[in-house]
């Protein structure tokens, strides 16, 4: 049914700590199987945005080469994860009166209301990354999943618009095209990709918050009733914890990072057996003695603040009350010991560390919180491809299927 070329989908994430490229192959039914993975340490990226183009390109090509060798395909098109402080989301409303005498809602009406909803006023210089349809409203009757053939005089729909700065979204796209001759098929908000990879159907229904604790940014996505209701980015991540430690304990960044991995904890331990730790320099000589209490304090303050900022945002939008499925964590930050305790304390909800679900060919090596976003890209791409090749589906169905499937 597909030739090999069109069967291949590639997800690329240019993250702050690592560049990760996953190659997957779709089988006849459109189910993806991962056949290659490549990654490299990232140095040209801060807060999930490229600051050093030369280094970033070098690191991307290393990751892509590795994935190409492993999967034995040439990477030409990728799905690119984007995030950063510029990514924002808001919900807008579309309205369409039904003029037909019969008052039967037709496909044309549905298309029209979605088009109306999408004519939104986003800040100049911004572009829409995703527009995610929410449920329809027919004559004040809310939560209508499919209004086709229903009777009504007024059709409304809400759309969640995820938008970001055009120049900042386009920077990696342009770099990939100009320097590596790689086309970007689609840009995907990485928080969305993560939630796509992590949540099962039930979690999507009952309302779940996904927090991707990355190195550069913390992305969060709320899924309720099978739909993405809210998402956001806080440009604070693991890098900030390291930087805080480096400043607070007066250490080089590298040593602060090592300390964070070795001793880090989201909640300071009640009693610290050995309070002072001696840092050795390159020669193995005693360079500095640090107080672990300070390390725990600095870390705990930063992590708690980040989670608290998310909680405040959800509180303001009022969506926090519909979260019954709890909080699912992913990203490198999910590895911090006792982060679940802290998350439960902040949100007063059960918390768990997410596992990527329902993708074939994932070795145990990939079942790690760091790989959730690229796996989510594969999932997004497989859904996109599966639907887009079929001529039956219109734009409405495309939207419905991309984000509706993810709900149903």
């Amino acid at each position: 049914m597909f030739n090999r070329e069109s069967n291949i989908i590639v997800g690329l994430e240019i993250g702050t700590s690592k560049v990760c490229c996953i190659v997957a192959e779709l089988d006849d039914k459109g189910v993806p199987t991962i056949i290659g993975i490549g990654q490299s340490r990232s140095n040209g990226v801060r807060k999930s945005e490229i600051i050093d183009q030369e280094r970033a390109i070098e690191e991307v090509s290393i990751a892509i080469n590795e994935a190409e060798q492993m999967s034995d395909v040439e990477v030409k098109n990728v799905y690119l994860a984007v995030t950063g402080s510029h990514i924002k989301a808001f919900t807008c409303n579309g309205f369409h009166p039904i003029h037909a005498a019969s008052k039967v809602i037709t496909q044309a009406d549905v298309d029209e209301v979605i088009r109306n909803a999408k004519t939104v006023n986003i800040p100049p210089g911004d572009m829409i990354v995703h527009s995610i349809r929410q449920h329809f409203i027919v004559d004040q009757k809310e939560d209508v999943i499919n209004p086709l053939d229903m009777l009504g005089t007024k059709l409304e729909v809400n759309i969640l618009i995820v938008h970001g700065s055009q120049s900042r979204v386009q920077t990696p796209v342009r770099l990939l095209k100009n320097q590596l001759q790689i086309e970007v098929d689609n840009v995907v908000f990485s928080g969305l990709a993560s939630s796509l990879a992590l949540l099962n159907k039930e979690q999507k229904e009952i309302g779940t918050l996904v927090i991707d604790l990355g190195a550069g940014t913390t992305d969060y996505v709320v899924t309720v009733d099978g739909l993405v209701k809210h998402c956001g980015v806080i440009a604070v991540g693991g890098d900030h914890i390291t930087n805080d430690l480096a400043q607070g304990l007066r250490l080089p960044i590298g040593q602060a990072e090592q300390l964070k991995i070795k001793f880090g904890s989201a909640i300071p331990p009640a009693n610290i057996p050995d309070k002072f730790v001696v840092i050795e320099n390159d020669l193995g000589l005693k360079a500095k003695t640090i107080n672990l209490e300070h390390l725990y304090l600095i870390m705990a303050l930063r992590i708690e603040e980040t989670l608290e900022l998310i909680r405040q945002d959800l509180q303001e939008t009022g969506i926090i009350d519909s979260l019954r499925g709890g909080v699912v964590l992913c990203g490198g930050g999910a590895r911090i010991p006792r982060i679940l305790e802290l998350t439960e304390h902040v949100f007063q909800l059960p918390a768990m560390i997410g596992n990527p679900v329902a993708i074939g060919g994932i070795s145990s090596a990939l079942k790690q919180p760091e790989f959730v976003t690229p796996i989510g890209l594969i999932k997004f791409a497989s859904m996109f491809k599966r639907k887009s090749v079929s001529p039956r589906y219109s734009l409405t169905d495309y939207l419905k299927n991309i984000f509706g499937t993810f709900g149903k």
Partner: protein, 448 residues
Amino acid sequence: MEHLENKEETTDMSQQNTDNKSDCVNKHHQLNIKVFGVGNAGCRVVSRIHNVGLNNLQTIGINTEAPALEKCEANERVLIGVNATCGMGTGGDPERGKNAAAESAQQIRTLCEGADIILIVAGLGCGTGTGATPVIASYSKEAGALVLCMVTLPFDFEGGRCMRQAFMGLRYLNQIANGVICVPNESFSKLVPKGVTFYENLNLINDYLAEGICSLIRLLTYPGEMNTTFGDLCSMLREKHSRSAIATVSAKGENRALQICDKLSTHPMLEKGNNFSDAESVLVNFSSDGDITTDEVRTIMDFIKRSAKKAFFKVGESVNPQLSGQLNVTVLTAAPAENPYNQQQQTQSAKQSLQEYPESYSFQSEEPSSKSIGSSIPAPAPVVSNEQISSIYSQKNPANIIKMPILKQAKFDFEVVSHARFEKTSPTIHKGQNLDVPTYARRCIKLN
């Protein structure tokens, strides 16, 4: 202290000088120096200087408190203001200290006779030190001597009134004396290790002041090719003092210059070398037995100049044969002090000239109305007739206009926060907060 042993160090020189007393060139070498210790603190310091036993030095203790004066060891002891205070002290009132000194004017003038240089040591803040010192300084000047004062400012915990009085006293002193070295007591807090008793702390301050004066006297009395003269001292101290520090370090051996640099950089009185960066003028005096090399001078001066970039320098050199291979370096720095009472006083101090002293100045003029502050019951409103009100309002005399103190922006020492890791990115501003700054820093949580 090493100079305790040097009791007889100047014998040879003075002998030589007495032989040629008629020679008018040598007469300048035979300086007649007197040290006055005023008040309790001054008397204690003078006792110590007296015990060091420098030659050609006359020590005089002056106090209003008879019991304290009895303990003072000095060549002469003078109880002033017998009528004004009955020998019971001033009770912390500078006005009474001033009156006491004025009452005993004749005695003080007699003491000042024949002196070339008069050094006055006092602790500012309380009655005698603050009130009597400017009077004594003015009498000294009238007697034809050059006057250098070495005073301390009170501890912070002694309260605002004490500090205000001290600054007023300092201001008057600045106008009378040729030079004032002012050392805040608080600056010793770094010198004193934790757990040291208060008594020991005070002793340490006295020792330090005594050592400072002794080193100054040596600096003035020893001959050298590049002599430090009293004029040098005064020129660097005039009109900019309030926060001075004096330190003497010594070293022996091959690397003595480097050792001295090291000692200066860790000297607690120089705030581990930080003092240099604030200093407006720095006096450096090298004293050796004559074997100091140019390289050594250059090494030490390079070090000091690196730290004190904007300072005015005065370098002196003196020869002391007793030192035998040892190199002593005395550093005196003077930095402009942040005087909280300076602004409002500037206009007044301009009016007052030296001739008006000592009778014209008053410590009461700027005293806060302590009665109203002290009592918790507010005083009843004064009964004022309408005519009086109109006459009060119509007065255009600037003296009646209440001068608001010009508030000075306080200086805070902020911890330098570097954004090196995120410097190429746009700052993460969330509700007015820069999230790139560590949370603990934004919430002002102190890590010690």
